[in-house]
Every structure is written in C-alpha cells, then in structure tokens.
Symmetry: C2
Subunit: 144 residues, 2 copies
DNA sequence: TTTATATTGAGATTGATTCTCAATTACAAT
DNA sequence: ATTGTAATTGAGAATCAATCTCAATATAAA
C-alpha cells in the first residue's frame, strides 16, 4: 500500500515519456509525508531540511505534473499564493476557510455529494471535479 | 431603482467615515456599467477611455471596499489574476464549466443554499462568501 | 562510446498587487 | 473666509509568487 503513489506517478510519467528523477521523487515523498495543505515555498525548504534537493523551478514543474495525474489537488488561493494538498488515499472533502486566522476546516458531507449528483443529472453534465469552498469566520474569530 | 448601488455604497462609506469621491464613483459606475466578469486592469483602461480617471492604487483600494459592502464578488481565479463580478441586482449562482467547449452553465439551487447554511451552523462558521464550481463535460460534449 | 533526449538549477524576468508618502481635497469649527 | 484635521489620491517603487532561460548534466538507447 505504501509507495502506491510512487507507482502511480512513475506509470504516469512513463506514459508521457518522462522519468522519475531523484528530484521528482523527493518532491513526491515530501508531498505525501503528511496530510494537510502546503505551498511550493514550504516544499522548497522542507526538502532541503531533509537533506534532499530540488530547485524552485523543479518544484513548480513537478507540482504541475502531480496535478495532471490527479495525485495532488489545488486548493483555492487563501491569500495571494496557491496552496495544494495530496489527495491519493483520502476521501474527497471541501473546505471552510477562516479569513481572519487562516484556519482550514475540512468538510465531509454525504448530502452535498448527493446534491451534486442530482444537479449534474438535471443538466446532463458529467462532472469530473468540483470545488466547494466557503470563506468566512471560524468559531473563535467570529467572537471578535 | 437606477443608482441604487450608489446609494448603498455611499451609506456604507459614510458608516465607515469615508467619502464617495469622484474616483470611487467612476469605479463604481464602470463596475455596474454592464454585467459580466472584469479584472482591475480592465477597469483601469475602461475608466480612462471614458474620460474619467482613477489610479491603479485607487482601483484596488475601491474594489476592496466594494467586496466589503457586498456589491461585488470575487470570482475564482481563472488563470493567474483575480476576476470580479458585480452582484447587486443578480441572484447568486454557481457554475458548471465544460472542459471541452468552455461553456459555462449557471446554476441556481435553493437546496444548495440551505445545505450550506446547515453545514456552517454545524461548525459555527459565519460564511461571507462561497465558491461552488463543477468541471466536466456538458450534454453535447459528453456524447464525444 | 556516441547520440539523442529529458532534466536540472541559478538567476533573470514577469506581472499582479501592495505600499509609500508628499500633495491634494473635503469639510467641520472657528 | 480661514484654519485645522482627517481622508484620499497617484506615481512610482517594492514585493513576491510564478515562470522562463539556457548552459550544464544525467539517462538511456544504439
């Protein structure tokens, strides 16, 4: 089960005529090292901190590939720069984002999934991905 | 009915101890001159083209104010820069986006609004904006 | 080994957005 | 009207994430 994502990534790359280099492997491993959001700059430093290396350019390039093959998802921009999260092995979820403290609350809703299906059916639309995010103030922050 | 948005904006500004200057009025008027998405750079040139003036700085500052008072909504970033649409006088809607032909289907769902409220209540979250978009294939395009 | 192709990284570049701050404006109080 | 006070403006500088450039390097096949 472990390293399943590496297998998926390698196969995806091969199909494209690309290779799983040590930089790409380092990025992949860091991305999957724990669950949660991250941004490219994060990755850059964490990879260094672990004694591996990858340039910013490679990080941006590799994230693009990871999006393409569906191992990573782009989260809506919270402030000014992009955030990502890996999705392989995790149930899809949506987000509540606090505008004050930046906290991201994950949301799992069966009802929402059902509703989505209904809405698509009505329009005869085949959905391949969706984004649902609410911005506002979390419990703590709304109490001023 | 016309210029209703100006009344709303002025009252909002007054409450903040701010004024409806001619620059702010020019921006407001341009924003409401037609329906559809726009970006700050657009505004900058269109305002000039109409013989009015406002600096980029003022445009960005004023858009912030318009977001604050709810007259304008930020649309999810399509490419790299922010897009907006004015919402006063228009029902909120979500989008289905066809990946093949680019068609954007507007979506109005009472159920979705209700569900949103429920979800926020559960987390004690005060929602100020949301994004819900599904990407996939529209009726025509899914038939290959 | 030779050849061809993919990949990398340092640094430059881009471009949207934000910031700075001196000059200007609006308006209330005298 | 004049003065004082606070809000506002704009030109250009600064910021900073993201992208691009391109020579050097790695990889794999012939």
């Amino acid at each position: 089960m472990k390293q399943m994502e590496e297998k998926i990534f390698r196969e995806f790359l091969e199909k494209k005529g690309c290779k799983l280099t040590k930089e790409r492997a380092a990025i992949l491993s860091e991305v999957f090292s724990k669950h949660g959001h991250f941004d490219p700059e994060d990755l850059f430093f964490k990879i260094r901190a672990k004694g591996m290396k990858a340039s910013r350019a490679s990080i941006y390039r590799t994230l693009q590939l990871l999006l393409e093959c569906g191992l990573v998802e782009q989260v809506e921009r919270v402030d000014k720069h992009a955030h990502y999260e890996h999705i392989f092995g995790h149930k899809h979820h949506d987000h509540l984002i606090c505008l004050k403290c930046g906290k991201v609350i994950q949301l799992f809703s069966e009802k929402l999934s059902k509703l989505q299906e209904q809405l698509c059916k009505k329009e005869n639309f085949r959905c391949v991905s969706h984004t649902f995010e609410m911005k506002g103030y979390c419990e703590k922050c709304r109490a001023r």
